[in-house]
Amino acid sequence: MLSSHFTAALIFAAVTSVVFAVTSKDTDRERVLYGLWVFGLFLVVSLGAAWVMYFIHR
């Protein structure tokens, strides 16, 4: 079903960002911007954590 862990992380980040944006902000513009911001943060943190774990493992 999943091609990679990253795909699962992307889907998770997308859904969570949508829910956070819809429930946290009041206007459509704010929701879109906040959703993109949260999605970007999810990606940065997950990729960053992956690299940290990689170097710890080495």
């Binding site: 699962a8 859904v15 969570t16 429930t23």
Partner: protein, 134 residues
């Protein structure tokens, strides 16, 4: 006259949230749809519904209420928060075993997080109902 109308409206506002809480729990986004926030409700329903269905497709398992095991018990509460999605899946006999596959592990997390995200939706629907949000 204006005071009586305001009092009646206030009582109606105080009574409605219980229904909205139940609707919001049963159907992700349902609380928003009930209050005619069609766009938000539809978006929440599609998002959380997709996450739940993907969790099933990946072979995720539901947590079971286990006395003495707080992780399982809390996980079960999280799964329960998905409302009709969870109830329907259980009623239809979905019961995935514990699997070592990574996809199944992701599925389990997707099922759990779908329920937890619905808690946010329930709270948001409540805020709209009591007038804290529009």
């Amino acid at each position: 006259m204006a005071t009586k109308a305001a009092t009646i409206e206030k009582e109606e506002k105080a009574a409605i949230p219980f229904v909205i809480l139940i609707v919001a729990w049963l159907l992700p986004g349902g609380g928003h749809l009930w209050q005619r926030r069609w766009g938000r409700g539809a978006l929440l329903l599609v998002s959380i519904g997709s996450m739940f269905l993907l969790g099933l497709a990946m072979g995720g398992r539901f947590f079971r209420p286990t006395p003495g095991n707080i992780v399982e018990s809390l996980g079960y509460l999280g799964d329960l928060c998905s409302g009709l999605f969870f109830l329907a899946a259980r009623f239809l006999g979905y019961d995935a075993p514990v699997s070592p596959l990574p996809a199944a592990d992701y599925g389990t997390k997707f099922l759990l997080v779908a329920g937890l995200l619905n808690v946010l939706c329930i709270l948001d629907a409540y805020d709209i109902a009591v007038g804290k949000k529009t």
